[in-house]
Amino acid sequence: MENNKFVIAVYVENKAGVLTRVTGMFTRRGFNIDALTVGETERPEYSRITICMSGDDYAKAQMINQLKKLLVVKKVEVLDDEPIKRELMLIKVKNESENRSEIMTAVDVFRASVIDYSTEGMCIEVTGNPSKIDAFVKLMQPFGILEMCRTGIVALDRGTSTLFSK
C-alpha cells in the first residue's frame, strides 16, 4: 500500500485538556504526524486542529476512526486532494553587506517581508504553502540562518464547502 501525505481537519470542543486527549491518542496508537496546528474557528465553542500526516489508506482510516471515538471530537474530515494550505515562518538571517541585495531580491520574489532589521541581521516573515517555505529556507542557508520558527500548516477546502456542510 502506497504512503501518501494527507491533511485532516478536526473540530474539537474548545476546552482545557482537549489537545492532550487528541495528541495522547496519537502517541498511544503509534501514529506519526508531520505537523499539527490548533486555533479558534468561526464557532467560538470549537477549535480546529489541522493535522498533516503520511500513511497508507488503512492508517488513514484507522486515524480517522480513532479520532471519531474521542468524545471531545465533533467532526473529522480528510481534506480534498489539493486544499488551500498556508504556513507562516519567521526566519532570522545574518545581514552581511555582500549578501544583502541577494537576500532582498529573494524577499521580493517570495513576497516575504522584512519585519526587523539591523546591520547584523534581519528577521523575515514568509507565508505560503509548505513547499514555498522549504524553498525559502534553502535559499537562505548560504547566508547564515540564525534562528527560524514555522507554524505548521492551516488548511481549508477550496470552494464554498465547509467541514460542517460535508
Binding site: G17, T20, R21, G24, R28, Y58, A61, Q62, N65, Q66, K68, K69, L71
Partner: protein, 558 residues
C-alpha cells in the same frame, strides 16, 4: 432542593439506579462518605480492603449484570490504586463509573498532600474522564458519565471531584436514568452484501466475542448456525454468550483455544465475526490468520474494523440488529463435507486430550478438578478467575449455562482481578459464585478475603496451588530452555491457616475424592471458603498456539 456537592453526588447515583458501590474512604472523600452515611438506606456501600479490590468489584458487578458498576476512592494513592481496575475494565469494554475525590481547586497544581492528576493518569485507560470544577456541573457530569459508560462500545468513565465542590451547595433536581444511546442501524445494502457472502460460503464459522456477551443473542446464533450449517466458535470474552450444549459449538479458539475451534476457523471460507476485536492472543500471526476465509465483521466501534485483521466487509452499528437482519436473508443450506471435517477435528481433539490425560500420573489433574466443578456447581453459577494457567483451563473446561456467568480479565490479563470481581458479582446477583485462582494470582489481592468474610459473601475459592507461576513457567519450559527464572515461588504460605485467620473456612485437597468432598461442603457453607488444591507444577495448558505463530505451529503435546 439545595444540597451539598457530596449529597448531590450520592443523590445522583441513586437517581441513576445505583444500589451498591464499592470503595474506601480518605481525606478528600470524607464529605462523600458523610453523604453515604446519610443515605445508607438507599445505597449500600461495600468497604474493600484496598481500592484495587473496589475497582475489580465494580467491574465484576457490571460483568455479571450489565449494570454500570461504581467505585469510590480518595485522592492521590486512593485514586492511583484504582488504575489497574479501570484499565482492566477498559480493555474488556466494561461499563463502570469511578469517582475520586481531589484536593480543593485552590490547592490543585501545588503538589498538595495526596494530590495527583488522576484525569491525566487515566486518560488512556478510560473511555472518557471529567474533572468537575464547578458544583453547578456536578449532577449533569455524573449523568453524562453513566450515559457514556453504557452507550455504544461500553467502557469506564472517571469523575474527579475536588473537595470544595463536595463542600459547596447548589440546587438539585432529580432526573430520569440516563438512557443508553441507541446504536445506528446498518444500511440495507451492507446487510444484503453480508448475507450474500454468507450464502456463498461452503464452510461458515460464526465467531462470537465479548461484544455479543450481553446481547442475549445465543439462541439466534445457534439458529443461524443450524440454518446455514455453520459451526460456532468464540473468543475468550465471548465464552458465556452462546449456549454451550449445542453440538455446533466448538468453544474458544486462539492461543489456548480448543483444537477443533482454532483449526476450523483456519479452514473456514467465511467468518461471521460478532463483537470480536481480533486480539493477538486470538489470531496468532495476523498475516497467516484465516487466509482462506472472507471475513464479515459486526461491531459497534468503527475503529475495530480493519484494526488488527483486514476484513472483507465491516458493519458498524447495532450488532444484534445487523445479525438478525443478515440471518433473515440467509438461505437454508447444508454442507455435509464441512460438518464431517469438523467432526473429524473434534475427534482429533478428543484423542489429543485423551493422550494428555493418560500420560498424566498426578494424583489430581486440572481436568479432574474442572470435571468435578462442572458436575457439582448449581445452575446459574458465576465463575470468576484470576490470570494464568487456571484461567485458560477454566476457559477450556468449564461449561457455562447462561450469559454473564464467566467473569475474567481478558484484554489486560490482570492477576489479582478475581476475588474483587467475585465479590462484585455476588453482591449484584446473590447467585452462587466461584473464584478459580492460582497461588500466584491469589497472592496479589488475597486481602479481600477480609471483605468477603465481613460482608458474608460466600465465594468458593478454588486455589490451584502448584507452587509456581505456572503460565510463565510453561513458556520457560517450551521457549526458554527450562530456565525457571523467578517462577518457582518456594513460599511457606499455609493457605488453609491463612484463610482461617481471615475468618473463612478452608480445606486442603490432594486427590479427586478430597476435592469433591471439599467442594460440596464449600458450596453449602454460606461463607467464604478456600480450597487449597494441590496440582503438579509441570501441568501445561494445551493446545498452545505459540505467540505470533500460525495454525500449523499449534502444540498439542509435549
Amino acid at each position: 432542593m439545595k444540597l451539598t456537592g457530596a449529597q448531590i453526588l450520592i443523590k445522583t447515583l441513586i437517581e441513576q439506579g445505583v444500589t451498591d458501590v464499592f470503595g474506601y474512604p480518605g481525606g478528600q472523600v470524607i464529605n462523600i462518605y458523610d453523604a453515604l452515611y446519610q443515605y445508607k438506606d438507599e445505597i449500600n456501600h461495600v468497604l474493600t480492603a484496598h481500592e484495587q479490590g473496589a475497582a475489580h468489584a465494580a467491574d465484576g458487578y457490571s460483568r455479571a449484570t450489565g449494570k454500570v458498576g461504581v467505585c469510590i476512592a480518595t485522592s492521590g494513592p486512593g485514586a492511583t490504586n484504582l488504575v489497574t481496575g479501570i484499565a482492566t475494565a477498559m480493555l474488556d469494554s466494561i461499563p463502570m463509573v469511578a469517582i475520586t475525590g481531589n484536593v480543593p481547586c485552590s490547592l490543585i497544581g501545588k503538589d498538595s498532600f495526596q494530590e495527583i492528576d488522576i484525569t491525566g493518569i487515566t486518560l488512556p485507560i478510560t473511555k472518557h474522564n471529567f474533572f468537575v470544577n464547578k458544583i453547578e456541573d456536578l449532577a449533569d457530569t455524573i449523568r453524562e458519565a453513566f450515559s457514556i459508560a453504557k452507550s455504544g462500545r461500553p467502557g469506564p468513565v472517571l469523575v474527579d471531584i475536588p473537595k470544595d465542590v463536595q463542600v459547596g451547595s447548589f440546587e438539585y433536581e432529580p432526573q430520569p436514568i440516563a438512557e443508553k444511546l441507541p446504536l445506528p442501524k446498518v444500511g440495507e445494502s451492507l446487510i444484503e452484501q453480508a448475507a450474500k457472502l454468507v450464502n456463498e460460503a461452503e464452510r461458515p464459522y460464526i465467531y462470537i466475542g465479548g461484544g455479543a456477551a450481553g446481547l442475549g443473542m445465543g439462541n439466534d446464533v445457534v439458529a443461524l448456525a443450524e440454518k446455514i450449517d455453520a459451526v460456532i466458535g468464540c473468543s475468550f470474552m465471548g465464552l458465556s454468550a452462546v449456549p454451550q450444549e449445542s453440538e455446533r459449538f466448538l468453544g474458544m479458539q486462539g492461543m489456548h483455544g480448543h483444537y477443533a475451534s482454532s483449526v476450523a476457523q483456519d479452514e473456514a471460507d467465511l467468518i461471521l465475526a460478532v463483537g470480536v476485536r481480533f486480539s493477538d492472543r486470538a489470531t496468532g500471526n495476523v498475516a497467516k490468520f484465516a487466509k482462506r476465509s472472507k471475513i464479515v465483521q459486526l461491531d459497534p466501534d468503527c475503529a475495530e474494523i480493519n484494526k488488527n485483521v483486514r476484513v472483507d466487509l465491516g458493519l458498524v452499528g447495532d450488532v444484534y440488529d445487523s445479525f438478525t437482519r443478515i440471518a433473515a436473508k440467509c438461505k437454508k443450506k447444508s454442507s455435509p463435507e464441512w460438518i464431517s471435517r469438523v467432526r473429524q477435528l473434534k475427534a482429533d481433539e478428543l484423542a489429543f486430550e485423551e493422550e494428555i490425560a493418560q500420560a498424566d500420573k498426578s494424583p489430581l489433574t486440572p481436568k479432574q478438578v474442572f470435571e468435578i466443578i462442572n458436575a457439582e456447581k448449581p445452575a446459574g453459577t458465576i465463575i470468576t478467575t484470576d490470570v494464568g494457567q487456571h484461567q485458560m483451563w477454566t476457559a477450556q473446561y468449564v461449561t457455562f449455562d447462561r450469559p454473564r456467568r464467566f467473569v475474567s480479565s481478558g484484554g489486560l490479563g490482570t492477576m489479582g482481578f478475581g476475588l474483587g470481581a467475585a465479590m462484585g458479582a455476588y453482591v449484584a446477583t446473590k447467585d452462587p459464585t466461584i473464584l478459580i485462582t492460582g497461588d500466584g494470582s491469589f497472592g496479589m489481592n488475597l486481602n479481600e478475603l477480609a471483605t468477603a468474610v465481613t460482608y458474608k459473601i460466600p465465594v468458593v475459592i478454588v486455589l490451584m496451588n502448584n507452587g509456581v507461576l505456572g503460565m510463565v513457567r510453561q513458556w520457560q519450559t517450551l521457549f526458554f530452555g527450562k530456565r525457571y527464572s523467578n517462577t518457582v515461588l518456594e513460599r511457606k504460605t499455609d493457605f488453609v491457616a491463612l484463610a482461617k485467620a481471615f475468618g473463612a473456612d478452608a480445606y486442603l485437597a490432594e486427590t479427586p475424592v478430597d476435592f469433591r468432598k471439599a467442594f460440596k461442603a464449600a458450596m453449602g457453607a454460606g461463607k467464604p471458603v478456600v480450597i487449597d488444591v494441590r496440582i503438579d507444577k509441570d501441568e501445561m495448558v494445551l493446545p498452545m498456539l505459540p505467540p505470533g505463530g500460525a495454525i500449523s505451529d499449534i502444540i498439542t503435546k509435549v
